[in-house]
Symmetry: C2
Subunit: 273 residues, 2 copies
């Protein structure tokens, strides 16, 4: 079910630049007991992304109200907000006057076993690389073919996520998640210089770690650094924090720092999980 | 006006993965006197692109028939064919059964002055880079944000195209065109290793040059190579071949090789232009 420019509809204009060019961006919000999690942070990132894509800033109060209207219908769920550059003629040049399209959708909460949070998930390294340019780095934009090809590499239900490298061979992120690695007491996460999504939970976790006096480093992470890690975990708005218990053939314990951050994170959720 | 899965409609499902993720690809065909130009080449590239995106091969005969149905209505025009992975749930994982969406649209022919073909166009270098990964290189896919940001860099109507570099600083293509450079009798065009669209007219021009015993080289082109070129021209399916008469502040003659290739190319069009 969708709310499209405020109306309950199921379709968008085929001339919409979101459809023609992936010309837009999105947010994915968890819903718990009818409440949107971290709404303000998502709206802030959405506004920042719109500025980077040269889109007019959307009416954030209106977006919040519509998102809440959808969320109120769900005990648990996911609300996705898409903003596109709207309809326009053929060609990459943007229209002189931009009238953005907003599409809000309510989706069921994915049926992840609680075990993933508690005992961790199994992760692989993808062949498909992730690319990008500085202007779009961090933005949760609608150009997602690389993630789709990466996710198509495995069908094995025992594997929950795949990690993607950039063209230089550094690890950037999971297909749908951000990555953290603890090594000798320092929490490392890939710097998002040319690509990768600057996740909301990624930012929250970095702040939580700093509050715990854990050094946090945004850096270049070769795959070898992962195999030498003490702890690894993944984050996104729907999964929260998933410890990684296995990467390719190597096993990892669910470490003490991961547990501390999980507990701190749960305390921030509304209502507390 | 659109033909969507064979029906005259104006809208697509908001859950279509083309809209949600740019999960698809497209072709742009010129129409002259009701005839589609280079239809077979476009269909061949479309099928190749579908294979690269792990999409089921579309019914090419049906696509050809629908494209011709639209083209027959236009003296001059442009037919755009979009194929997407169809509707699916939230998330990058593709549906178990893929039912592609096909959207064909007829657009007016852009109002380019004949002077562009005859005396050439003015071109700039864009700040926005173009990126990509080997698996998607060459494919005319729906992830076009980089081209949109590049095209948004200038409003000056005296400039007809912008050239884009990759993250290593090599020139890849124009925002909407492929690039050729003649230097000391050799025709060079950027190798499309990690990004760029393998244009239909690009391939035709390479074949024409070979028939004329002009050496053709797909290579890495730094911007300096352009400023030292004897001739520069651009190609795409709608513009054909445009000589470049000015790049940034430097002027170029419309060279003899460009003219030969233009004439050879025109002889291939139906009906001959």
């Amino acid at each position: 079910m969708f709310l499209i420019n405020g109306e309950r509809r199921q379709t968008v204009d085929a001339a919409d630049r979101g459809f023609q060019y992936g010309d837009g961006l999105f947010e994915t919000l968890a819903v718990s007991q009818g409440r949107l999690q971290f709404l303000q942070q998502h709206l802030k990132r959405l506004a920042l992304g719109c500025a980077k894509l040269l889109l007019p800033e959307p009416d954030l109060q209106l977006l919040a109200a519509e998102a809440q209207q959808l969320a109120a219908q769900a005990e648990q769920g996911v609300v996705k907000i898409i903003i596109t550059r709207g309809s326009g003629g053929r060609g990459y040049r943007q229209p002189g006057v931009i009238s953005t399209t907003r599409v809000l959708g309510l989706y069921p909460y994915p049926n992840y076993p609680a075990d993933y949070q508690q005992h961790g998930v199994v992760v692989r390294l993808c062949q498909q690389r992730v690319s990008g340019t500085a202007a779009l780095a961090g933005v949760k934009h609608l150009n997602r073919l690389e993630q789709i090809l990466a996710r198509a590499e495995w069908q094995d239900e025992a594997i929950q996520e795949g990690l993607m490298l950039d063209n230089s061979g550094a690890v950037v992120e999971g297909t749908m998640s951000n990555l953290f690695v603890l090594k000798q007491g320092t929490l490392c996460t890939p710097a998002l210089t040319n690509c990768g999504v600057a996740g909301i939970i990624r930012e929250i976790v970095m702040n939580l770690a700093a509050q715990q006096h854990i050094p946090v480093l945004e850096t270049v992470l070769p795959p070898q650094a992962l195999f030498q890690a003490d702890e690894i975990f993944l984050t996104n708005s729907v999964i929260g924090i998933w410890p990684v218990r296995q990467l390719e053939q190597q096993s990892f314990p669910v470490g003490a720092v991961t547990r501390v951050l999980q507990n701190q994170f749960k305390a921030l959720c509304h209502p507390a999980a």
